[in-house]
């Protein structure tokens, strides 16, 4: 089976000298297509930084990341953004819902940014699966933490990405939906 993700000698340091933080220090990994992988570690060990680097949200100091055969950091910012919204579904730790958009609009946002046609039935199906079919017009401020998380998950799924990256606190994981 081919790799969906390949990380080669990734480095990301913050600061200089005595205050330097080596968030990701020559990390390499490979994940096969179709596999579920969890990266666990102590608080402050660099998990979120690694995930952000894999997801193309931050540029590394050195190293490469291939997703679905593409060296993502060979692309310029706008092309990387387009690649990201097509190929990567990212679920952020704090959900990152847009406060001015309702649940439906938050979910279809990546499709809209990609100028892809929204298939209402597909989105309704996703809403039903995550149990938010009655909340599609609700604003993020009216949602509970769990409902926000499910909206974020739906947004990551709607584009049918090649890989889903979820930056989650362990205690918020709901086994049924994981």
């Amino acid at each position: 089976m081919s790799s969906i993700l390949k990380v080669e000698d990734l480095v990301k340091y913050y600061g200089e000298g005595e205050n330097q933080v080596r968030a990701v220090d020559h990390t390499s990994l490979q994940i096969e297509r179709g596999k579920f992988t969890a990266i666990v570690g102590r608080s402050g060990s660099g998990k979120s930084t690694l995930l952000h680097l894999i997801g193309g949200l931050d540029r590394p100091d050195s190293g490469k990341v291939w997703i679905d055969g593409t060296d993502i950091y060979s692309r310029k910012d706008d092309k990387l953004a387009q690649f990201r919204r097509k190929k990567i579904g990212f679920i952020f730790q704090d959900f990152n819902l847009i406060p001015s958009l309702n649940v439906w609009e938050n979910i279809v946002l990546p499709l809209g940014l990609d100028n892809r046609k929204v298939k209402p039935r597909e989105v309704e199906d996703i809403l039903k699966k995550i149990g938010l079919q009655d909340k599609k017009d609700a604003m993020p401020s009216a949602l509970s933490g769990g409902q926000k998380q499910r909206t974020a998950i739906a947004r990551a799924l709607v584009t049918r990405p090649a890989i889903i990256l979820a930056d989650e606190r362990r205690e918020t994981l709901i086994p049924r939906l994981s």
């Binding site: 949200l57 953004a81 387009q82 990201r84 990212f90 946002l109 990546p110 604003m139």
Partner: protein, 397 residues
């Protein structure tokens, strides 16, 4: 609807209170950019309209001009039109009124905008006279055109007022009395050139030479003034014997001294507008950096972020600018009317200004001022938002 437009629209609604404040700032800035140039221009135009109504239309007059100099001046290539006036006709000798006896030719009458009442003619013969009702009352006589009146008068000669004479004059026309003449009992009658020359030795007859000079399109008041002074120098007419109708020239030709002032004021107004709008957007967008970061994280390109920011900002501006212009349109008329009404009885010019504004005799609104206000506000909003997009990109790097 495109996603970027939808996000911009949703942002406009979600951040309603912030956008209302921004909208108010834009309304006030548009108001400022519209009202100040409008009122400035209107006050100048009203002033010019009043001057053109009240002031004579000669560009200058030369005093104490003898007959031979009159002939030479009339032939000068820079003199477009001329009229003659002579106050040497003397004064009527009356107890409680002062009546001057003046000679004025037809062109002089036109340049002074003096008209006879219907049916009258200018004096031609030695015993012709144009009077007014007030003059007849002061003389204690009645009469209409064609009637004869007896007038006691004294001629002003070089060595002073001559002894009183009496003469029968035929009324050939009437002038209207104005309020100030009636109040002060100071009147002017018109006599013929023939009477003038019969009473005063030819060498003592002096005229006021009223002239309009030739000009070209684009000539300024300074150009006209220079021409007038050149002519005077050529004929030995001193500064003391010259009166330039500066107000009339300023009302009808461009005064170069005013241009830097106008440009300076406009620059200050525009700068104030730009700083206000930029500051308002700077504060507003600064607080939403995190939100733009989220959009970028979800996959919005720089171009899409720019579109969202611009569409939201310009959307607010497109609502606010027309409101600002509407308020400004009403405010200009109200402010002008209030200003002239408040002082309308203080002098003739302002009383006339009030009439001019109230009757709508002067254009108050100019398309280019509307365009200026819209263009400056829109450009400022656009440039402020673009600048903030650049700032955000640098900050987020």
């Amino acid at each position: 609807m495109k996603m970027t437009t939808r996000v911009a629209y949703c942002n406009m609604r979600h951040y309603k209170s912030k956008n209302i404040l921004i909208g108010i700032a834009i309304i006030l800035t548009t108001l400022l950019l519209f009202v100040i140039p409008s009122i400035g221009k209107d006050m100048v135009e009203v002033n010019f309209a009043v001057i053109n109504k009240i002031y004579p239309t000669w560009h200058a007059l030369y005093r104490n001009v003898d007959e031979s100099t009159v002939m030479k001046l009339a032939a000068h290539h820079d003199v477009k039109t001329y009229g003659l006036r002579s106050d040497a006709g003397g004064y009527m000798n009356l107890e409680d009124a002062t009546v001057s006896m003046m000679y004025m030719d037809r062109t002089g009458m036109e340049l002074y905008k003096v008209k006879l009442k219907e049916g009258g003619q200018l004096p031609q013969k030695e015993n012709d006279i144009v009077v007014s009702k007030g003059i007849l009352e002061a003389l204690g006589q009645n009469g209409k055109i064609g009637d004869t009146i007896t007038v006691p008068y004294q001629i002003l000669k070089d060595d002073g007022l001559d002894y009183t004479k009496e003469k029968d004059f035929r009324i050939c026309g009437f002038l209207a009395d104005n309020e100030s003449s009636k109040e002060q009992k100071q009147y002017t009658s018109l006599v013929s050139e023939a009477f003038l020359k019969a009473e005063i030795p030819v060498e003592q007859v002096k005229y006021r030479f009223l002239l309009q000079v030739n000009g070209q399109k684009g000539n300024t008041t300074a150009d006209y003034t220079e021409t007038i002074q050149n002519i005077a120098r050529q004929f030995g007419i001193s500064e003391d014997d010259m009166n330039i109708n500066k107000e009339y020239l300023a009302a009808n030709y461009v005064d170069p001294a005013t241009i830097p002032v106008i440009v300076g004021i406009m620059l200050i107004v525009v700068l104030a507008g730009i700083i206000t709008i930029y500051s308002v957007y700077y504060v507003s967008m600064n607080q939403r950096v995190r939100e733009f970061g989220k959009l970028k994280a979800i996959g919005a390109t720089k171009r899409q972020l720019r579109q969202i920011v611009l569409r939201e900002g310009m959307g607010v501006a497109l609502f606010a600018i027309p409101i600002g212009l509407l308020i400004g349109t009403v405010a200009v008329k109200v402010v002008l009317l209030q200003f002239v009404e408040h002082a309308k009885d203080s002098n003739v010019l302002i009383t006339e200004a009030y009439k001019v504004v109230a009757k709508g005799e002067v254009q108050l609104y100019y398309w280019w001022i509307y365009l200026l206000a819209i263009a400056v506000t829109l450009c400022t909003v656009y440039l402020s938002l673009m600048k903030l997009c650049v700032w955000r990109r640098r900050y987020q790097k």
